[in-house]
Amino acid sequence: MKKIILLITIMLLLVGCSKEAKDPANDADQENDTTQGSNDAQNNDTADDTATQDHQVVGFSFEYNGVKVPMNVEAAPVVEALGEQTDYFEAASCAFQGLDKFYYYSGFELDTYPLDGVDYISSVVFSDDSVSTVEGIYIGSTLEEIIKAYGENYTEESGLYTYTLGETKLTILVENNVAAAITYLAIIEGLQP
């Protein structure tokens, strides 16, 4: 009898006092389980160490009209600095609160995700060859130019070349030996490129 009472007491203590697990119902759009980047770009001069208001972010960063667009930083100041967008779209998830937002500019699209009520930049997607990366790569650059700019420390699958730096990725889809699509990505659990 005493053992059973002890067992109940222990179980109740465990229920109330164990390490707090995040409630998945509040967590779906709020988790930001970033993984550490496993590779550095071969040429460190090609990567930006970018400080943000809230935290240091090491990774790839896009730049447009003098405005730096790092990944996984608060979106609002960047969107404001970029000026008026040509279009805007927002997508609610199947169930959870918060919106993924898509800002369209001339030559690229900037996507955000919500975390604790704040929007963070999840990706930048090039839409045409009017914009380029900081390292000068654009839609239409050759594979040789890409490797010259970023090095050989990439993974490749089905023509998709992926460079990882810190909490970011730069993916370049190569078709017929030229870049067909270029995307900057923040490394976030559940983020579909």
């Binding site: 059973i4 229920v15 164990s18 409630d23 967590d27 779906a28 988790e31 779209f89 927002e90």
Partner: protein
């Protein structure tokens, strides 16, 4: 000695009872927020006699109205849908459903073919926590779990939700043992309108081929239906986002042809169905609202009735009695939602809070 054993047994039963009550209390109730979490469990209270079963993600539970199918064609149907339901979850839900009833037709939305691996625990929970314990659920859990999840936490959800003790609300106590229904035979109603303004273009992909895991479960679903003499209809709902690539569509067309199935891409039939994206969606084209869902259901009901011979049950008095109550409840909710739209400008009690807040900002 005997007395001692009995006391110990009684104490053990008491301990189990306490844990059972705590689990009931700590589980999220999904009534005023994230109503989608209630969908799977609601099925078990139904009279299980449906000629058509829909399975899949939010593109089924937001886009088809079983009440319209009943009113226009006498078709009895249920939507076993859940948020971001993955294809293996659809398979195991179907497998489980067939233990309760044998519909004539199963309708599966193919968007989930794009997810070859488990995605997010939060979505897993919305599907799996509502399932009753069964072999299908066990297999579903094993297939769905992310790396950092534990199987035992799905069998005893108290392990997962115990930390909610600090977030309990009146709703948790009120709905500990019984909950109000949030859906209409699995359909989640939204009467608000947010027109389509932008249709995002699809991003270029390196590989458009659906994964092996997805095809494996589609094969299993096809076989399960064939073995049970059930017509399986594959559909792509008329949602503008996520983008549905031509390359994906071709795969489904080919699969259906190879397996002697019907595949309907409603994105190609918008004009025929009469979908007006300035009025028929509540979130800019991702999902239809009530009016869009009724149009789509009226169109699809004709196909079910004429091409698949699904019966008109309106002359069956016992069935009609059950559905008359459902119809009343449906229109009562529509009226209530319309009232909230007038009073608050948005669906305050129906999970629309954040979107409207964003717009107001």
């Amino acid at each position: 000695m005997k007395k001692k054993i009995l006391i110990n047994i009684a104490a053990l039963c008491f301990a189990i009872l306490i844990l059972f009550l705590l689990q009931k209390l700590f589980m999220p109730k999904y009534i005023s927020e994230i109503r989608e979490g209630s969908l799977i469990a609601e099925y078990y209270d139904e009279v299980k006699d449906h000629d058509v079963m829909f399975i899949g993600d939010c593109e089924v539970y937001e886009n088809f109205s079983p009440i319209t199918l009943w009113e226009k064609y006498g078709i009895t149907s249920y939507i076993r849908g859940s948020a971001q339901q993955l294809i293996w979850q659809s398979y195991y839900l179907l497998e489980e459903t067939l233990k309760y009833e044998k519909p004539k037709v199963v309708v599966f939305n193919v968007l989930s073919m794009k997810y070859n691996e488990p995605q997010k625990e939060a979505y897993n929970r919305l599907t799996l926590d509502g399932m009753k314990l069964s072999k299908s659920k066990i297999n579903d859990i094993k297939t769905s779990m992310m790396e950092d999840e534990s199987f035992i936490s799905y069998i005893f959800p108290l392990i997962r939700y115990h930390a909610r003790w600090s977030k309990l609300t009146g709703e948790d106590f009120k709905y500990m043992f019984e909950k109000d229904k949030v859906s209409h035979n699995g359909f989640l109603m939204r009467t608000d309108v947010k027109p389509v303004t932008v249709i995002p273009k699809g991003k270029k992909l390196a590989d458009y081929q659906f994964g092996e895991n997805s095809y494996d479960y589609l094969d299993r679903m096809t076989k399960l239906c064939k073995d049970n003499n059930i017509e399986l209809i594959l559909i792509k709902a008329p949602s503008t986002y996520p983008y549905w690539y031509d390359e994906w569509d071709t795969q489904m067309v080919n699969y259906a042809e190879k397996n002697d199935l019907t595949y309907i891409n409603f994105l190609d039939l918008l004009e025929e169905v009469g979908i007006d994206f300035s009025k028929d969606t509540y979130d800019g084209g991702l999902h239809l609202n009530l009016y869009g869902a009724e149009k789509l259901s009226e169109y699809f009901g004709k196909t079910l009735s004429e091409d698949f011979g699904v019966s008109d049950n309106r002359n069956d008095s016992s069935t009609a009695k059950i559905w008359d109550e459902k119809v009343d409840s449906y229109y009562a909710m529509e009226e209530d939602q319309q009232r909230e739209l007038v009073e608050y400008g948005y669906l305050k009690s129906y999970g629309a809070l954040v979107q409207i807040t964003e717009e107001e900002e």
